[in-house]
Amino acid sequence: MIAKTVKIINKAGLHTRPAATIVKYASKYLCEFFIQKDGMNINGKSIIGVMTLAAEMGSEITLTFDGKDEKAACEEIAGYFERGFDEL
């Protein structure tokens, strides 16, 4: 299992477009993927789940990946967070 803490750095925060993109990325992988924030643990392959996360610029989020392809999944998804959802 890999756990990684990332920061929201784009201005608009985790709005609908990045939420959709994250789920699209996650569904390519076999490993389990969860997002933790403020005590909530959300399955990252569920769009409706990810949409319940209110994450503004500056907030911190923990991503956990568990499964065979966890490394590749972590790289792609955490990378997307670190690039500010390509909105910088």
Partner: protein
């Protein structure tokens, strides 16, 4: 013999409204409460059926959403269309769907209860967040939740409503009306809506008596009450007395006799006493209505409202689906003409609620929406062209307000013709193109428009609404919507004269033609073609055959000088009296 007035006067059980579709019927009330998404905690016994209902509703929702997504991308842009894309993903959300299915199996509750409960939990989480955009997000999810539930309930609704009942409802959408009519509904009563509301138009075309705009009828009528609906006078009797039942039973017999005698008119011309022929065409809303149109003796289809396909199918038809319907229209009416009106979406008709406008009647509707959605428009043009190979199809543009819209549309039609030529498909290269005259700016420039098209058709419903600035669906002002407003009569004259100069064909297809009182005036103003609901054609023909054109002309000339609606109506009523023409309601 007692009269209608006596039977309704002092009757404590009477409710009055607007006579929206002629006919008399006695039957049991079925209250259709459109408290949208009222979800009961119902248990189920057949889990397999519930799961397949869910699958079906999800598939149906996906199909609807795909069309909306395409439309949204064109209209509001790729960026804002993401909301619909996310909704689409929700329909594929493995976690959500998995939980819903498991809960249906364990809890054995109807699928809509579980869907509602499960998605609402997510919405509550969103609303708990402090960020303001989260409440908006909760709202976006509301849409998709409602869509799934509606699709689950629609299926149930169809099997739930008993046959042969009178539907009593606060309001009815065009698709509700069609759904009920398929279930052998015998009458409609609604609180809201006027003569030109779409529910009224559809019930008229399907020959189902209707009284609308009764304000409080749904409060005074209980499920299972016996009702008499008089669609000629706009009256309803709740739990009628023996005397009232006797009276109306006799009227129903008389009505059947009258309808039979009108059938004899089928092959007779609609000709005035002094030999002027009037062409009577049918307005067709639903394909099933073609038979009524043919039986009525209509000389063609003057208006096929193609947007009704949406109401019938539940979403925008594909090019192939459209082509099948248009081919059927063309071949079953051949050699008579069929006028297909391009999709008139927007305003109060099939507004995709996702695209909200502050003022939809002045917004993106009719030709405006089509020109912004070239893909949608061109697929309709191609399917119309492909159905035109028998050379009996005409194509009409709605809501035209400027010449540039006509030119742009004609360019698109040329493009489509070239595409079909490349594919070696057959079509009528001289397909006649016309416009609806329903916006005052177009009415004022009728001659200039006529120069650029092959034919024109006056749409009185919208023309009146825009001319007198009255929203016909707004109960507060709908009494100001007056067909016999002097300005309306003068504008009709202006249009008729403009079309005459250019020598182009002109018809009138609004609901005004269904008002028998208007017929002598319309003929007197110089109209030679009228298009109306098939069920009203025999009534109109009977009136025309009693009218002298010369006298109608002087009637029109006089009416053009009046200053008030009242003067005009009084004058027309006097015309009926002087020429001993009896109105239909006075015959039974």
């Amino acid at each position: 013999m007692i009269s209608f007035d006596e039977i309704f006067k002092d009757a404590e059980n009477s409710v009055t409204g607007i006579a929206a579709a002629p006919g008399i019927v006695i039957g049991k009330a079925y209250k259709y409460i459109k408290e949208e998404l009222e979800i009961s905690e119902q248990k189920i016994t057949n889990i397999k059926l519930a799961l397949s209902d869910l699958e079906e509703a999800i598939a149906r929702s996906k199909k609807e959403l795909t069309k909306i997504l395409n439309l949204a991308r064109n209209i509001i842009g790729e960026k804002r269309a993401i909301i619909f894309e996310a909704q689409m993903m929700i329909l594929d959300d493995p976690i959500l769907l998995g939980t819903i299915k498991r809960r249906i199996e364990y809890e054995k509750m109807i699928p809509e209860f579980i869907v509602n409960d499960e998605i609402t939990q997510y919405q509550k989480l969103m609303l708990k967040a402090h960020e303001s955009y989260m409440s908006e997000r909760a709202h976006d999810i509301e849409d998709i939740k409602n869509r799934i539930i509606r699709n689950l309930q629609n299926k149930r609704l169809k099997s739930k409503i008993p046959e042969d009942v009178i539907i009593v409802s606060e309001t009815l959408s065009p698709s509700d009306t069609i759904l009920f009519s398929k279930n052998k509904t015998i009458g409609f009563v609604t609180d809201h809506g006027g003569l030109t509301s779409h529910a009224a138009i559809i019930s008229r075309s399907l020959n189902i008596p209707a009284v609308v705009g009764t304000h409080n009828s749904t409060l005074n009528i209980n499920e299972g009450d016996e009702l008499i609906i008089d669609g000629f006078h706009g009256c309803i009797l709740v739990n009628p007395t023996k005397k009232q039942i006797n009276f109306f039973s006799k009227k129903i017999v008389h009505l059947h006799e009258l309808q039979n005698s009108l059938k004899e008119l089928k092959n007779k011309k609609a000709e005035t006493t002094d030999g002027k022929s009037i062409e009577l065409l049918a307005n067709v809303d639903v394909t099933g209505e073609l038979d009524i149109a043919k039986a009525s003796g209509a000389q063609g289809i003057g208006l096929y409202r193609s947007e009704q396909i949406i109401a019938e199918l539940g979403d925008i038809a594909t090019e192939e689906e459209q082509n099948t319907i248009y081919n059927k229209l063309s071949s079953s009416m051949y050699p008579q003409y069929v006028t297909i009106r391009a999709l008139d979406i927007g305003g109060d008709k099939f507004n995709f609620s996702e695209i909200s406008e502050a003022n939809p009647f002045l917004g993106l509707r009719g030709i405006r929406l089509l020109l912004k959605n070239e893909g949608l428009f061109k697929s309709q043009i191609r399917s119309v062209l492909r159905a035109s190979k028998n050379k009996n199809v005409k194509f009409m543009l709605p809501m035209v307000s400027s010449l540039s819209e006509v030119r742009k549309s004609k360019n698109l039609i040329e493009e489509c013709k070239n595409e079909l030529k490349t594919n070696k498909e057959k079509f009528d290269n001289n397909l006649k193109i016309g416009i609806m005259v329903e916006v005052p700016s177009t009415a004022l420039m009728t001659k200039e428009f006529a120069d650029e098209v092959d034919f024109l058709s006056i749409g009185t419903n919208d023309l009146i609404q825009y001319l007198v600035a009255v929203d016909r669906g707004n109960d507060f002002v709908s009494d100001l919507y007056r067909e016999f407003h002097p300005a309306v009569i003068r504008t009709l004259k202006l249009i008729i004269d403009g079309a005459k100069i250019s020598g182009k064909e002109l018809s009138l297809c609004g609901e005004m033609a269904a008002e028998t009182l208007a017929i002598p005036l319309l003929i007197g103003l110089g109209l030679e073609s009228l298009s109306l609901s098939p069920s009203t054609i025999p009534y109109a023909k009977r009136i025309i055959r009693f009218v002298s054109y010369e006298k109608a002309k002087s009637l029109a000339e006089e009416c053009l000088t009046y200053r008030s609606t009242k003067e005009i109506i009084n004058r027309i009523e006097k015309f009926f009296e002087d020429n001993s023409i009896k109105r239909t309601r006075n015959l039974i």
